[in-house]
């Protein structure tokens, strides 16, 4: 798995309520398969995938491909594992926040997950992608795309409707997140002599995300 050469080890983490399809999503992404049987994740797990990333510069020119080793952490949505799973938030560079489009409560809980992220992630405004999963189950839909988009906008994060069952948008989501991370990385490093985000890190000053209008912008 981890054999061979790669240029970057990038760590993502999927979170969200129990049963929204985090494991299935990742399984679909890494193996292209779907298992409709629900097996609850015990605490934590991870999957790996090797991808090639081609950076697209501001001028649209793409650079040479870089070999990325993705470590995709899967977390248990169940409350009882909470203390364990949140401890892993700090090790991830980017986050996939999933909710179930057929389950309104999971959507309402996105807010809680966001604040958990704010507390436990490596910085106050990590890269997050909001995913409304199970979009293939159109007849059971309980959350409209509009309200989901509205929420995502409020947090300043991209929103995608995905389906772990048929693979819709799955790899796109990971690609977009990877792109966000790679761009953030560039900003962190490029001209690192210019004071960057690390100077304003005296703890979470505004616990409520909504009070943070410039979210989505890199602190670097």
């Amino acid at each position: 798995m981890s054999d061979g050469e790669y240029d970057y080890l990038i760590k993502f983490l999927a979170l969200g309520d129990s049963g929204v399809g985090k494991t299935s999503f990742l399984y679909q992404y890494t193996d292209g398969k779907f298992n409709s049987k629900f097996i609850t994740t015990v605490g934590i797990d991870f999957r790996e995938k090797r991808v090639v990333y081609k950076s697209t510069g501001p001028d649209g020119a793409s650079g040479k491909g870089q070999k990325i080793h993705l470590q995709l952490w899967d977390t248990a949505g169940q409350e009882r594992f909470r203390s364990l799973t949140t401890a892993f938030f700090r090790d991830a560079m980017g986050f996939l926040l999933l909710f179930d489009l057929t389950n309104e409560q999971s959507f309402l809980n996105v807010r809680n997950w966001m604040s958990q992220l704010q507390i436990h992630a490596y910085c106050e405004n990590p890269d997050i992608i909001l995913c409304g999963n199970k979009c293939d189950l159109t007849d059971q839909r309980a959350v409209s795309e509009a309200e989901a988009r509205e929420l995502a906008e409020k947090y300043g994060v991209p929103y995608f409707e995905t389906s772990a069952a048929d693979g819709q948008n799955v790899s796109q989501v990971v690609d977009v997140l990877l792109d966000l991370i790679m761009k953030r990385m560039e900003r962190c490093v490029d001209k690192s002599w210019i004071p960057d985000g690390t100077v304003r890190v005296n703890g979470p000053t505004s616990p409520d995300l909504s009070e943070n209008p410039d979210r989505g912008k890199c602190a670097c």
């Binding site: 790669y6 970057y8 015990v42 700090r90 090790d91 490093v189 690390t198 890190v201 670097c220």
Partner: protein, 711 residues
């Protein structure tokens, strides 16, 4: 760092769940180790690139040649050839041009690449976030002993490490179930216990590299907590010989085997692990080949069980504090033992070479011996405890011979006598000379040999043989550096001259006496870069604390009362991969800080000594009071890491120099260029730009603090 990561209580998990999680964590460990190896390799590569370029670190060079390859630059390009990061002028071949047309010099480019590829961009940011107790608190907190934090440490790592010992021990070893009720009980507490303990960082290597007694010692430490445990540890003590034998032969392979735990069968009922009855239903586990781990377990378990109910165990890893300093191997380098060896073999610097570097750079800037002597004064004031010396015009010669003694495999250097040495104190016509010898390239204490001191003579006769145990084949790559010194009983030693003898072309079988003229310290044409050697890294945080009552108080202060009372806080967090100076591959290090320019020694600060650790955590804050933000621009902060040596002079391990990197600063009446580079500059500027917040950075240690004279 969030509490959660430190103290995750897994008491609520069932055995099978724990096993599954541990399995995940072990997979993660595999990935992590590969990653560590990769990171190590990358850093080595960067070092290579840096080595090639001569103009690293110190800034005073001709602008007519490329800072990397030293090829002359054409006049046309000179105006546009400055790297925007390090400010060196570099030629076209030594640039990396980006798609948008901007460029950096090859080293700076490589450096920022490295930051990306190693994930340091991420870890640097994370460290900042989780090391933040609000401003002032940090100072007081840092003075207390805090558990060491590792920048690259992940939750998985912490969890796994804390469970590894437990997992190791609970698995295996064929033994009758229920043999020992205490063991039974503690079993549950053990696994359900802390995921937080960091003790086992070293659990792999330390079995080989550190003295066995430390384990028992730590167990004893634990047992102090309660009487009950004490009796229990006595129980175990008969087993200790066995344990020792075990650890002697145990090796990383041992521990890796033990981590191959067979997943627990699914039909095992998920139950509360605290319930001893369910324990009885437990299956016998697979066999573990390393017996000492089992004893280890009895040990630890009984200690824990006696002390607390399992739920709280996560908070009680008191032993960690004791065990940690025993670590003798750099954690980071663990997975690449070969590199460790290499590093240990690398030439070690001591204060002499520090000073000689200084002299060399002086000489190369073609100043007379006189000036160099006076600049030494500046160095002296800084490293006064560290064996500095005076210098005089060298004269006289040395009579010596070298031979190789086959039976004992030793090189013998016979120091016969000296003639016509210079007076160390010309006015009093005084010299108490002795001869010191190094077998280069080793300049560490191990390689130092000295003769006796002859009193009050400039023609001393020694007839003393200095011996080195060394294989003959090795000699061809080495040389002997013989120097003559005046021993100042109450004052500094004085350098009287030296000579370097290459051994490759010497006939060591028929010793003949040779008379050579003593020389002043040899000047090398191109000063070695101060970063040429990887001496490790220093992690620090800087903060400028603005005065509480700004402005207004104009009446009180004489001039700029506005800015008076500002403070510079320097949090010295940790050092990594320091050079080992002591036997056993460790160092007892501390960090010393100076803020220049300064009056006398008022700016000197020191951290406590962290013993036997090449990755020491100091977590100590230096506070410089009454500093105005404006002043900082023209100031220079020097942090140096030293190996504490109780009776001898401390040995220099590396240092950093933080400043804006421009202009000069007055150090002991000497205008010295502020030659800070890269992150040394960026961190300093970051600190100034954002008062009242911490700016943290990981800085490579310079191998010498040699100064460049300002113009």
């Amino acid at each position: 760092m969030p509490e959660a990561a430190d103290m995750i209580n897994l008491g609520f998990l069932s055995d099978s769940e724990r096993e599954m999680i541990l399995e995940v964590l072990r997979r993660d460990e595999g990935l992590r180790q590969a990653e560590e190896q990769r990171v190590r390799k990358l850093k080595t590569e960067l070092l290579d690139v840096k080595r090639k370029g001569a103009k690293r670190g110190s800034g005073r060079y001709s602008q007519q040649c490329c800072g990397r390859c030293l090829e002359p630059l054409s006049r046309l390009t000179i105006f546009s050839s400055q790297c925007k990061m390090c400010n060196h002028h570099v030629c076209r071949n030594c640039r990396t041009v980006f798609p948008n047309g901007s460029w950096l010099c090859s080293v700076c480019d490589k450096e920022s690449d490295l930051k990306k590829m190693t994930g340091d961009w991420f870890y640097d940011q994370r460290v900042n976030r989780f090391s933040t107790t609000p401003g002032y608190d940090l100072v007081s907190v840092s003075l207390k002993k805090r558990p060491p934090l590792k920048k690259r440490q992940t939750a998985g790592e912490v969890l796994l490490k804390s469970n590894e010992t437990k997992a190791d021990s609970q698995t295996p070893v064929p033994r009758p179930r229920l043999k020992n009720p205490a063991e039974k009980n503690s079993h549950s507490s053990e696994i359900s216990g802390s995921l937080a303990s960091r003790e086992s960082f070293d659990s792999k290597e330390d079995v080989c590299s550190r003295p066995v007694h430390s384990d028992t010692e730590s167990a004893e430490n634990g047992s102090i907590g309660s009487n009950k445990t004490q009796t229990e540890s006595q129980h175990v003590s008969p087993e200790q010989p066995r344990r020792k034998a075990g650890s002697a032969e145990s090796s990383p392979s041992g521990s890796s085997v033990s981590s191959l735990t067979v997943p627990v069968k699914a039909e095992i009922v998920v139950t509360d692990s605290d319930n001893p009855e369910t324990k009885d239903t437990k299956e016998v586990k697979p066999v573990n080949p390393s017996p000492e781990l089992d004893i280890d377990r009895i040990f630890k378990k009984s200690v824990r069980r006696a002390q607390r109910p399992p739920e709280y165990i996560s908070t009680m890893d008191l032993r960690d504090g004791h065990e940690k300093p025993e670590a003798s191997m750099g954690y980071r380098s663990r997975s690449v033992p070969g590199l460790d060896v290499q590093e240990d073999e690398e030439e070690e610097e001591d204060i002499d070479s520090l000073v000689s570097f200084h002299k060399r750079s002086m000489a190369s800037s073609s100043s007379s011996l006189h000036t160099s002597k006076s600049t030494l004064g500046s160095l002296r004031s800084i490293y006064s405890e560290a064996g500095d010396y005076d210098s005089v015009d060298v004269s006289g010669d040395l009579v010596f011979s070298t031979s190789y003694d086959e039976p004992t495999h030793s090189l013998r250097v016979l120091i016969k006598e000296c003639h016509g040495l210079a007076y160390a104190d010309a006015s009093r016509q005084l010299s108490n000379p002795y001869v010191k010898c190094y077998l280069l390239p080793d300049k560490s204490r191990q390689s130092k040999r000295k003769t006796s001191i002859k009193r009050n003579t400039i023609n001393p006769v020694y007839n003393e043989t200095l011996k080195y145990s060394v294989s003959r084949s090795q000699l061809y790559t080495r040389s002997v550096l013989i120097s003559v010194w005046h021993h100042g009983r109450l004052s500094r030693n004085t350098f009287l001259g030296e000579v370097e003898i290459a051994l490759d072309c010497r006939d060591l079988d028929s010793p003949y006496e040779e008379r050579v003229a003593l020389m002043a310290k040899t000047a090398s044409s191109v000063p070695a870069s101060v970063f040429a050697q990887y001496k490790g890294e220093l992690v620090i945080s800087l903060k400028y604390v603005t005065p509480k009552k700004p402005i207004t108080e104009k009446f009180k202060g004489k001039k700029t009362a506005a800015e008076e009372g500002g403070q510079l806080h320097v949090l010295v967090k940790e050092a990594r991969s320091l050079t080992a100076m002591k036997t056993g591959g460790t160092s007892d290090s501390f960090v010393k800080g100076y803020l220049f320019p300064t009056k006398a020694k008022t700016s000197k600060r020191k951290t406590p000594v962290v013993k036997k650790n090449l990755n020491p955590h100091y977590d100590h804050t230096f506070v410089y009071k009454d500093v105005a933000l404006e002043q900082l621009k023209a100031m220079c902060l020097e942090l140096t890491v030293w190996d504490r040596e109780a009776l001898l002079s401390n040995e220099f391990l590396g240092g950093v120099r933080l400043s804006s990197g421009k202009g000069t600063v007055k150090i002991a009446k000497e205008e010295v260029e502020m030659d800070s580079v890269g992150e040394e500059v960026s961190l300093w500027e970051k600190m100034m730009l954002y008062p009242d917040s911490w700016a943290e950075g990981t800085l490579p240690l310079r191998s010498t603090m040699g100064k460049t004279e300002g113009k």
